[in-house]
């Protein structure tokens, strides 16, 4: 088996998911200069909500992929509503507060959502039923499943859709104008509050889909899956240059690949001293290196001051 190619495939899958989540961080940061640390919990709620729908649907005899689609169809609006409420309740009242304040409420929201999920879904790991096609295909000595291919294609399509929305449509233009200067966009008739709400809602929709992908990919979901995932996606956003959409996509994919390669080779490199369970270390190593050597990220602009 070709370890290198195998880890590239795995990394691409993982990276597509990170990219979807990283987009949520970067969109919010781009528009209001805020790191929404509760975003990872939206991913988690999305995954668990979808699962709660998928299980009965599958039990009722619906074909696997349809049951999963049904779960996603419910998880997306739930996550959107959640994102909307998070902004309204936790961030809007602090719009003009010092920067530390919304950061602290973000952590508070994270804790509340985790506890809420624990109350609803319990502390247990929920297994994601193997409903998606798991056919294994061989490519150059490495294996890739249909599920992985689906994840990469769906994530790619969503990213293209987002880029089109932001770069081509009237709404996207208003989003970019608001990100640059909300007061002046206001003079043109743009309601900045509406744009900010929409940004949270769109990011949350992506997060819900990403949540289902993670759960399907690893086969499990649980109430604290959002924390590490959120941190990694945030790392991906910083790696790409926070505030930059294409950067978040690139950062996500790169981080996924770095992590997978790292996990694949760390055993050999350390003579078996460290195993692939050290996978998570790589993300944070990347975060530290980026923050030291290129804090503006790969595609970020040098000056990241808000106008």
């Amino acid at each position: 088996m070709d370890t290198f190619l195998q880890q590239i495939f795995n990394g691409l899958t993982l990276g597509s998911i990170y990219a979807l989540v990283a987009l949520g961080y970067t969109m919010v940061y781009g528009i209001m200069g805020l790191v929404n640390f509760a975003h990872g919990e939206v991913v988690m709620i999305g995954a668990l909500t979808a699962l709660a729908v998928i299980k009965p649907l599958a039990a009722a005899g619906l074909p696997g992929p349809l049951a999963v689609l049904g779960g996603i169809a419910v998880a997306i609006p739930v996550a959107m509503l959640l994102g909307f409420c998070i902004e309204r309740i936790a961030y809007r009242p602090l719009r003009n507060a010092p920067r530390l304040a919304p950061l602290i409420t973000a952590i508070g929201v994270s804790i509340v959502l985790q506890q809420l999920a624990m109350i609803i879904w319990g502390r247990n790991y929920h297994s994601f039923p193997p409903l998606m096609p798991a056919t294994v295909r061989e490519f150059g000595g490495a294996q890739i499943t249909d599920l992985q291919i689906i994840i990469v294609i769906v994530a790619g399509a969503m990213m293209v859709g987002l880029l089109l929305l932001v770069n081509v449509t009237r709404l996207g233009r208003a989003m970019r104008a608001t990100a640059e200067n909300p007061q002046i966009a206001g003079l043109m008739g743009v309601d900045a509050n509406r744009i900010i709400s929409l940004t949270f809602v769109i990011g949350s929709a992506l997060a819900a889909v990403a949540g289902v992908m993670v759960a399907a990919n690893y086969g499990i979901a649980h109430y604290n899956m959002g924390f590490i995932l959120g941190l990694k996606a945030f790392t991906a956003a910083v790696l790409g240059g926070i505030g930059n959409l294409a950067g978040a996509m690139l950062g996500g994919i790169l981080l996924g690949i770095i992590e997978s390669l790292g996990a694949g080779y760390i055993g050999d490199l350390t003579g078996g001293f460290m195993g692939s369970d050290y996978q998570d270390v790589f993300a944070f190593f990347v975060l530290i290196v980026v923050l030291i050597f290129r804090p503006s990220g790969l595609m970020g602009e040098k000056v990241s001051e808000r106008a």
């Binding site: 233009r173 970019r176 104008a177 640059e180 200067n181 007061q183 002046i184 003079l187 043109m188 008739g189």
Partner: protein, 233 residues
Amino acid sequence: MLEVINLEVYYGGIAAVKGISFAVEKGEMVALIGANGAGKTSTLKALARMLPSAGSIRFCGEEIAAVPSHRLIGQGLGMVPEGRGVFARLSVAENLAMGAYSRRGDAQIDGDLARVYEMLPRLKERNKQLAGTLSGGEQQMLALGRALLGRPSFLLLDEPSMGLAPLMVQKVFETIQAVAASGVTILLVEQNAKLALETASRGYVMEGGRITLADSAANLLADPRVRQAYLGE
């Protein structure tokens, strides 16, 4: 058309505008002049509801002190902010499209855009260029064109001559006069008092947050206090 009574603007506890009252009639061009820090920009920002303020602001007979900023363009109140405020990372064409944002579905936008391009041909040549890469004068033109695409009946202009070479200033003011001639009411803030008073029909002089003089532009130009303080004599 615009009637302001006892307008006050505070930054923290410090008053920048200390209870001014003035009016602008439909079809007029009125100048508001004053030294650095007199409170001109604060006044305009309060009128555009970009800053909280006390006092009454009546626009077309309606109190707008409680109207959020983004609703004003729909009522006909447009503004070219100090320092132009073009969206640097949007193209010229996108900036202009933002100007027409409030007119969703209006079939006349294309015609208005063609007119702006005709009046400001530089913008047409450079319509794909990012606004941040335009020269200062071109940015001022863009800010003006963008504001016009909102179809304002009343336009607030904050120092359109700032930082421009004399030739460019002349060009900008010719454009402003053309806009006024097309029936748009204008409140013009300028540090270049001579130019402002030569262009406007009436003027107010602001000092330390208060209006200290109000008269026809011709009288102000002849007033020894104005000549000494603002025309360098």
